[in-house]
Symmetry: C2
């Protein structure tokens, strides 16, 4: 039976990526060797790393604009630490927007490095919206935000225009929508949503913001070290980088971010329209802040859960339960999820109306 | 043509591991989903992580002895930083043995955290041997050493018996030879030699040594955090952990470390015997410290290099050049390299005698 994978991450990737990645595990570039056994300094893999770094910048419209792309290990959780180490001055101040669990984790990791000012938080309302009309001090070393909140189903639609470096954790919506990416000075994203498998993190950084803290930065945490070594300061996660490259190539062939944005909007519209129409369900996020990546919703009557759960499982859907910290349902509609899969879920929701 | 992959890491893994890993990229556990798209919190992957952690301890003879195994991201280079963060007290002292490039990198990363005492170094002799008869202060917070030096072809054969925590970077020879692993309190190893693909690091730590520094440890660097979260504090590198599990299962089925040690000794004896016999070559490491993993050697007459290079390439050998920092040749004979591949190299070395 056809599967409809709504997993929140790691998540569905294009079928052609799975096929090419599996082939490379057996025989990479017709070398007779597996992608898992070649040296990261081999000509073939250096070419992979260079293409992945260049293509990430190209898709974001940042080629030739003073940015560098890195593919490192550690996940976004390590960037929570790398960011203050690289950008927060001794006795400095960092401004954070608190929009959910991951924003909070980033704040916690920065705290020992200086003053972390939370400019706004939607925590009192269980993060059901994105705060607006907050003020960011012009003296802060940087402003940090999380573009999309997987757990609460919210997404920042308008980013503040600031004269200080803007840092954004785009783990769960990078490459999914058009933005003026030059507004950001540092973007990071764990690969395991729209870019590839778990195991690598994309970091896109404007070089000019680095080297100003006066802080002693450990080598492995120092963005400048990684830039100098062309993302090979230490052994990179070869397979995760290669599979990310395959996914970026797929996106480019599809027409890049403008093309995928249209598909993502169609999917989100289809599902949110049904959530709003169907009297059995309600969405949890403020409508104007709804995420096009993760739609979070509840049954109005919990007693319908066994029937609903049976229906979507029978339809081949997986990964629909909400995050263990909030419950309910979460439909993650990342780039590689086809519109057809969303139609299957919508059909199940309509079907539930006839069953209860 | 059959390939003989002498790459120093990432390196050859068992053929059955490549086949099973490729299959899992297409269809994991017959779930209809790729290993790359399943949630790391799915029942199937939690089982992979638990088995990998348990099997690592079992193969090392450390089950039930107060140790925890973790599979994290970041490579050994991140452990260079995690170690002082977790073990070096404020105003404390750490003792390091300097046996090569990686030991040196570990020392550099620890320096800002306290006094790093280098108890001995073979740097003046270009790291051609392992220092002996050094003294480690009983007051040091820990002693750190590198069991095998890939670049210089040396390997520690006897480890000091100490009353302070012993930390060992075993990246390039873990699971290759029998040792009393209870002598160590913290072992770490990048996967990409004897354990799996690049992208995960095995950390084996005696829990009782943790939590004593009084230092504020960032969450992502805190071993205790990772232990509490059962190696899922953040999204693990799913594919790298799964492929490591496959490799550990292969090793267990082969008979574990005692069985692979015999094979590794046979391979090393075959090659070193030829290096010593053949008048065209000489080894670079002190005989008593020679690594069974990486044999480093030189041509006595550099003029023979073009002929030799042509011969081994024609024989299907790859990855034989020495590290870019030292030159010469390096034959890396990790667990998965078959004895037959070493015989091919030895035959080429003999063949060179008839050609020059």
């Amino acid at each position: 039976m056809k599967k409809h994978n709504y997993s929140a991450g790691p998540c569905i990737l294009p079928q052609e990526v799975f096929e090419k990645a599996a082939q490379a595990v057996l025989n990479f570039n017709d070398s007779g060797l597996s992608i898992l056994e070649i040296s990261h300094r081999s000509k073939d893999f250096v070419a992979v790393m260079e293409e992945a770094r260049a293509l990430a910048l190209e898709l974001l419209g940042l080629t030739g604009k003073g940015y560098q792309a890195l593919f490192l290990q550690g996940g976004a959780s390590l960037e929570f630490l790398r960011v203050p180490y690289n950008l927060l001055k001794e006795n400095g101040q960092a401004a954070y927007l608190d929009t959910g669990t991951w924003a909070n984790a980033a704040i916690k990791e920065a705290k020992p490095f200086g003053e972390t000012l939370v400019v706004a938080s939607s925590k009192p309302e269980n993060y059901n919206h994105i705060p607006k009309n907050y003020t960011v001090p012009a003296t802060a070393d940087y402003f940090h935000c999380t573009s999309n909140n997987t757990i609460f189903g919210t997404q920042i639609k308008e980013f503040p225009a600031l004269d200080i470096p803007v840092v954004c954790d785009m783990s769960s919506d990078i490459f999914s929508r058009q933005l003026d990416f030059t507004k950001f000075d540092l973007i990071y994203a764990g690969a395991q949503k729209n870019m590839g498998p778990a195991g690598t993190t994309l970091i896109v950084v404007k070089e000019s913001i680095l080297g100003t803290t006066g802080r002693n930065i450990p080598n492995i945490l120092n963005y400048q070290q990684h830039i100098e070594k062309e993302s090979m300061y230490n052994t990179p996660p070869v397979f995760a980088v290669y599979t990310s490259l395959l996914t970026l190539q797929w996106l480019k062939n599809l027409g890049g971010i403008p093309a995928i944005e249209k598909i993502n909007e169609a999917k989100a519209t289809l599902l949110y329209t049904e959530i709003d129409r169907n009297p059995l369900f309600r969405g949890t996020a403020a409508k104007e802040d709804r995420s096009n990546m993760n739609a979070t919703f509840l049954l109005n009557d919990e007693a319908h859960a066994p029937v609903f759960d049976g229906l979507w499982k029978a339809a081949g859907i997986s990964g629909l339960p909400g995050h263990r910290s909030v419950g309910g349902y979460r439909a993650s509609m990342y780039n590689a999820l086809p519109l057809e899969s969303v139609q299957v879920l919508v059909d199940v929701m309509k079907d539930l109306e006839t069953k209860v």
